[in-house]
């Protein structure tokens, strides 16, 4: 429980920007209506690249803070893996649901 709380504390420090990117992607997907389904590949890669950039810059700008988590037994890897998985699933699952909904609205489907 303590580990989850600590990981959430770290995630909270950049969650806003990450969620903003996810919402933008989903908004674009939905906004383009039936044609949005053709954008899903580009949005998929956009999310991966922005997530990689987020990890890169957070690692630089918050490098001192990792000592707090290390002193509590959490290495960088233990912190990052669940955050990356969670953040990506937060994009992937709504995208799949939205894409399947858009697929149904395509003419001829």
């Amino acid at each position: 429980m303590k580990t989850i709380r600590l990981i959430l504390t770290f995630y909270k420090s950049f969650a806003f920007i990450s969620l903003l990117i996810t919402c933008t992607c989903l908004g674009l997907l939905y906004g383009f209506g039936a044609k949005g389904i053709y954008m899903i590949q580009a949005l998929f890669w956009f999310k991966i690249i922005t997530l990689a950039l987020t990890v890169y810059f957070v690692n630089i700008y918050k490098k001192n803070q990792f000592y707090y988590y290390k002193n509590l037994g959490l290495s960088r890897l233990i912190i990052w893996i669940p955050i990356i998985v969670f953040d990506f699933l937060l994009f992937l699952i709504p995208s799949i649901i939205l894409a399947s909904h858009l697929h149904e609205t395509l003419p001829g489907s």
Binding site: K2, S13, N64, Q65, F66, K70, N71
Partner: protein, 226 residues
């Protein structure tokens, strides 16, 4: 139970420059070990190597004779106070004490003026106050050994004395390794003092050894008054 932490066979090189070689350091439960050395001599690097944060090809770090590799993986064995502020600024004081499983009332016993900060975020404290919370969270938490890198920097003299008292009290339960340029305080509280010179560690006996290794001059750190 008494534990021992031994460090040797460390070789650290940056490009072609050899920073550390022929290092030996030993710390035990109940002892405070000081590390002194000129700027750039490799004190912080040594602590980072012991902690597992800095990788080297050669190192031997042993807890009770058994090799340990990445100290940070087990805070029950080793905790580390880096020389910079490391606690995220948005975390509340009460949360820090909960995370490190330490008693706030005991902390108030040492620093009564911090009582009002219990519900404050650490980012709202001054640099010195921030440092005191960081130092205390590392020294007072449950661990076999702790390493303190420049704990007296940013801290006002009256609090330095309190920190020294905390170190004296906590060393009964753990081994403490300290490095700081305020060497008078280090001499005052440490049982053993090593000086790093030319990448090697030398166990010192008295102030004369510090002079011999070029860490202090004959007159100590006296500055001419204007």
């Amino acid at each position: 139970m008494k534990h021992s932490l031994e460090v040797d066979s460390i070789i650290l090189e940056f490009d072609t420059k050899r920073i550390l070689q022929d290092v030996y350091l030993k710390n035990e439960t109940g002892k405070t070990t000081g590390i002194l050395g000129r700027n750039g001599s490799g004190k912080t690097c040594l602590l980072n190597i012991i902690y597992g944060e800095l990788k080297t090809n050669n190192k031997s770090i042993r807890l009770d004779g058994n090799a340990i590799y990445d100290g940070y993986r087990n805070p029950e064995i080793l905790r580390y106070l880096p020389q910079f502020n490391f606690i995220p600024r948005n975390i509340k004081i009460k949360r820090i004490f909960k995370d490190f499983n330490i008693d706030f009332s005991q902390f108030i016993g040492y620093f009564p003026e911090f009582k009002k900060y219990y519900n404050s975020k650490i980012g709202n404290l001054s640099g010195g106050e921030n440092r005191i919370v960081e130092i205390y969270s590392i020294i007072a938490s449950k661990t076999k050994f702790c390493m303190l890198d420049e704990p007296f920097s940013q801290v006002m003299p009256v609090h330095v004395d309190t920190i020294k008292n905390i170190v004296r009290a906590e060393k009964e339960k753990k081994g403490i390794i300290i490095t700081d340029h305020l060497y008078e305080h280090i001499i005052d509280i440490c049982d053993d003092i090593y000086v790093i010179s030319n990448g090697k560690t030398y166990l010192t006996q008295d102030k004369a050894d510090l002079i011999k290794h070029g860490y202090i001059n004959q007159k100590g750190s006296q500055h001419p008054r204007k």
